[in-house]
């Protein structure tokens, strides 16, 4: 009987734990972002062009710890009030860097379904939809739901975008997909 109660309690505790999400701290975020945008870790985000966002400037806000310089052996237990800002800065920086590279090269890697130099009005919807699906696979490893794809396609018609260059639209698209909660928690 005792064993039964023990197993029941154990199973309930596993269920409770399963209800909680796991927060990707700085190191894992760096790896996943690097994989999603095909950029080396040190190409993702540098504050003021030289200071690593993920390893230095926003290390604590992104929940990580520094056992060497700061003698911190454990990651922060919960997000701080600056976590959301740091996360968004990192994703935005990485998106800008990827778009800049894809705009320069003859063979773009991530933003490759429409020319980045074109105006938004010149892009066709199937190409944008392809880009959206590709970004979803890269960041979230799944296809977008129809409602999600529609919401992102709607971004192209947002008056705030006007007739901006495709590179600016791509930045908005990349931020909207890459800084979703689903990318930071799993």
């Amino acid at each position: 009987m005792r064993i039964l109660f023990f197993l029941l309690g154990f199973s309930l505790s596993i269920q409770a734990a399963a209800a909680e999400l796991i927060w990707k701290r700085s190191q894992i975020l760096e790896r996943d972002l690097s994989r999603a945008l095909e950029l080396a870790a040190d190409e993702l985000c540098l504050e003021l062009g030289q200071y690593s966002c993920l390893k230095d400037v926003h290390l604590y806000a992104l929940g990580d710890h520094d056992p060497f310089a700061r003698v911190q052996y454990r990651s922060l237990p919960e997000p701080s009030q600056l976590t959301a800002i740091a996360f968004e800065r990192v994703v935005l920086n990485a998106c800008i860097n990827r778009i800049a590279r894809d705009g320069e090269g003859a063979a773009p890697t991530v933003f490759r379904f429409y020319p980045l130099q074109q105006k938004l009005s010149q892009l066709n919807r199937p190409a944008i939809a392809q880009q959206i699906r590709d970004l979803y696979q890269r960041f979230l490893v799944r296809d977008p739901l129809p409602a999600e794809e529609a919401a992102l396609l709607g971004l192209a018609n947002d008056p705030a975008l006007g007739d901006e260059k495709a590179s600016m639209f791509s930045q908005a698209l990349c931020l909207a997909v890459g800084s979703q909660l689903e990318f930071l928690f799993f």
């Binding site: 922060l76 919960e78 009030q81 976590t83 800002i85 705030a160 908005a172």
Partner: protein, 488 residues
């Protein structure tokens, strides 16, 4: 783990926060240079300075004079000690020390006492651990007397309720760890800062990012993202982590409206930053901290002190933790190098006790001298009716433990020690307790009168109680130190 998030609640909260953000932005604009509302404010400010590695009080403001009576312990000769007329303290003169290259000897402890001795006090105490991590925590949480809250958390909970960044912790090791009180209000949780120089960049989602799209475009992207996030949120509405994250995410407009990045970014990045306007309130303050802390770009302690000043000046923070780390640092003096900061800070005493203690104490006093001077000069929130920032401040030099008194070259850890407090809120120019000159060990004092008591040793909980009393913070089980409070 059972905090529920439903969409209605989220929308209501978002609407309220958005209203509050707009209100705060207006209030900020009306105030010109601060983010708080008008009136004579009751907040008190705590500066916890972490003397990492074991700063021994008998090697700074409570030195023992050598005599026939104490040949078995380390002591100082009369020529090595400064005694100022009218001062309750003696202090140790610079001890020449080299570690391949000279260790900086520019600042003298007596300079600090001349300028701030009236507000300084030594309180003796005996700790309960000689483990760096544990002792550091206990020096800040009073060995758990207040449900595990750190001093900074307790101060922030009492005085930082309306502040944007109530508790900023730049400490390392045990000094950087949060307390253990599960009931601590969210506002009082410490924001851990890895790099004081670049920290302001974490206060805005896109400022100072090169090549970013127009604000309107990024706002449109965020609007769509919020829509996309809703499915994930409803699916994981029992996640406490997510609840915390989203709550803070909703707070971002309020933080950004306060334009803190521009107010606190004292790092001179002429390449990217607009030139400072010396005639604007914010520009002149940034120029001032650069002048007072000229090594801010290379010395983390100066950068931390500069950030602490600005956080207090704008009424953003009730408790700041700053201090020494473990890394060796050099400075250029002419064509020569000098050691600015010893490896392991005060714990270098294992290798050379007096060289380490003397140089690290002087390093701390030098930086604190300039920080306190700034706080004495500047009005809180920039408003003369609020008085000087210093009038409401308390500096506590926390350390893990003292050092043994017997060994000659290097020293080990020892529970017996004392701390330095500096504040206009305590009866200063006083030594509370004393030192037995035959053993070098400190003894305690009567908390109600402040008189020395050779039969008593003060505990970590005493120090904690006293500090919070000076900050006007009460808690269950608090010990009374009425005898040390300054009578106005």
């Amino acid at each position: 783990m059972s905090k529920k998030l439903d969409r209605r609640h989220l929308l209501e909260t978002a609407a309220w926060l958005s209203f509050w953000g707009a209100y705060q932005a207006k209030a900020s604009a009306a105030a010109g240079s601060s983010v708080s509302t008008r009136g004579v404010r009751p907040e008190k400010l705590l500066i916890a300075v972490t003397a990492n590695g074991g700063a021994s009080i008998v090697d700074s403001l409570l030195p023992v004079l050598g005599s026939d009576n104490n040949r078995s312990i380390r002591s100082y000769t009369a020529a090595e000690i400064d005694i100022e007329a009218g001062s309750a303290f003696a202090c140790v003169r610079p001890v020449p020390y080299e570690l391949g290259v000279p260790v900086d000897t520019n600042y003298e402890m007596r300079t600090f006492l001349r300028k701030h001795g009236r507000d300084a006090a030594v309180i003796t105490h005996t700790g309960t651990s000689v483990n760096h991590l544990i002792a550091a925590q206990r020096s800040l949480n009073g060995n758990g007397i207040n449900r595990g809250r750190t001093l900074m958390e307790a101060a922030a909970a009492a005085h930082g309720q309306s502040m944007l960044l109530a508790n900023i912790n730049m400490g390392m090791g045990g000094y950087g760890l949060p307390g253990t009180d599960p009931e601590l209000p969210r506002v009082a949780r410490a924001e851990a800062v890895a790099d004081a120089l670049l920290f302001p960049l974490a206060l805005h989602r896109e400022q100072r990012i090169e090549g970013r799209a127009d604000d309107k475009i990024l706002s449109a992207a965020r609007k769509v993202r919020a829509e996309l996030d809703s499915t994930f949120l409803s699916k994981h509405n029992e996640s406490a982590l997510l609840a915390d994250f989203v709550r803070y995410q909703q707070n971002i407009p309020k933080l950004e409206a306060a334009e803190l990045l521009e107010a606190l970014m004292f790092f001179d990045q002429a390449r990217l930053a607009p030139p400072l306007n010396a005639h604007s309130s914010r520009g002149s303050l940034l120029l001032k901290v650069r002048t007072v802390f000229p090594a801010y770009a290379t010395d983390p302690l100066e950068a931390q002190a500069a950030l602490a000043f600005l956080l207090f000046r704008y009424g953003l923070t009730a408790a700041v933790t700053l201090g020494l780390d473990d890394l060796v640092r050099f400075t250029e003096v002419g064509e020569q190098k000098e050691i600015l900061h010893l490896p392991l800070a005060f714990d270098w005493s294992h290798n050379n006790h007096q060289g380490a203690q003397n140089s690290m104490w002087r390093r701390l006093f030098s930086t604190l001298d300039r920080l306190i001077q700034l706080l004495k000069e500047e009005d809180y929130l920039g408003r003369p009716e609020e008085g000087k920032i210093w009038d409401r401040s308390l500096v506590y030099i926390a350390t893990e433990f003292g050092r043994d008194r017997e060994t000659r070259i290097g020293s080990g850890h020892h529970l017996n020690n004392g701390s330095v407090l500096i504040s206009p809120r305590i009866e200063g120019n006083r030594i509370y307790g004393g030192v037995d000159t035959s053993t070098g060990l400190t003894y305690g004092f009567n908390p109600l009168t402040g008189d020395p008591d050779r039969g008593r040793e003060m505990e970590e909980a005493d120090v904690y109680s006293l500090l919070l009393q000076a900050l006007g913070v009460n808690f269950d089980g608090q010990r009374d130190f009425a005898g040390l409070m300054r009578r106005v």
